[in-house]
Subunit: 212 residues, 2 copies
């Protein structure tokens, strides 16, 4: 991959090849996009929805779009040691994109969904990413955070690595300097006001499930 | 929860409240069930499909079935510190069930899907579980294993904890005494014959994606 002098309109959407956005919240993000980057076969789905991708990244083993029908910038990344989403994150980082919204990243193969979530965590220090699915907004955090939520919103926390100490305050079930392993231990908690406090010594995924 | 003198016809199916089985392979498991245990709201879906649950386990906050319409054995487990699926696994272990097939455990909320996979790993030493989704058969293994697959089947390995040493042999991309973190690193490998070898010092999830 080489760096070019691209400029991007915000917000930058990365569309992956899972379930296409169908929830109102997910569709709203897609409709407000400034730039749409598709991973491989997601380009077909986007074009099928009547939009055109700006950039397509992958090894092009999942797209049925032939050369002459291609629109946007096609960037071939044949590295078999990385997933299309990892390559897309690295391309975004190399091109100085600081923040992305990730859509279409769940809802099909479970290994892909989980791989995508670990990818969010892997590049957390280099690029800010909000993953918006048909069920939730998912972010990766570490350190000290105040996170906005809706009262009664279902909140789950899943560690991506063994966590020495996590503190949660402002949820129905709080924690104080507890250890947390990757597990189902902190699933289906609830916000009791419009924000909560989370401090963690390591990376955790926060699932803010859509209210309806 | 108390232990009763139940006896169960094999195979024992646990049906969770995610996407109802729609893939041919998942439906086949449901159709061949000897006993069906539903977690909470999954009972509604099973009854909606024309079958009756044998046992229903949960805090009954997701079911719309009222007392007089209940069929099967309803076991109330109000513990807020555990998910319905964790409570179901513990009930099965307490009742000497050695092996279950888990259906309906993915495809809706991503936090539930991941929580269910960690639950598989958590109880791995106590109960054998095959999770069959609309995309894959997923098992948790550790130690030395020969795993049956189909030639060209897409296989992913995801660690549920930091693994000191994993060896894979008989796949398109093999590993020899490598370390593996929970990550997207070993996703979308491929079987090159009808079985492969996996040895791991810790618990890993193996995703055998359905061929079609």
């Amino acid at each position: 991959m080489t760096q070019n002098r691209y400029s991007f309109n915000d917000p930058v959407i990365v569309l992956a090849n899972g379930s296409f956005p169908s929830h109102l919240i997910a569709k709203k993000y897609l409709n407000k996009s400034g730039t749409i980057i598709c991973t491989d076969g997601a380009a077909d789905k986007l074009i099928g929805s009547g939009r055109n991708p700006d950039i397509i990244i992958g090894d092009f083993d999942s797209t049925s779009i032939k050369g002459k029908d291609r629109t946007g910038i096609w960037i071939e990344t044949p590295d078999q040691n990385k997933t299309d989403l990892e390559k897309t994150f690295e391309w975004c980082i190399m091109n100085n994109i600081k923040k992305i919204v990730l859509l279409g990243s769940s809802g099909k193969r479970e290994d892909h969904t989980i791989g995508n979530l670990f990818t969010l965590a892997k590049y957390h220090d280099e690029i800010k990413c909000e993953m918006i699915t048909n069920y939730a907004k998912i972010i990766c955090v570490s350190g000290e955070n105040y996170i906005f939520a809706d009262t009664n919103q279902t909140i789950s926390i899943i560690a991506t690595e063994p966590i020495d100490s996590i503190t949660l305050d402002g949820l129905q079930y709080n924690m104080k300097n507890e250890s947390l392993l990757p597990s189902a231990h902190a699933i289906s908690n609830k916000a009791i006001s419009d924000k909560f406090y989370l401090e963690s010594t390591g990376k955790v995924l926060v699932f803010l499930n859509h209210i309806s």
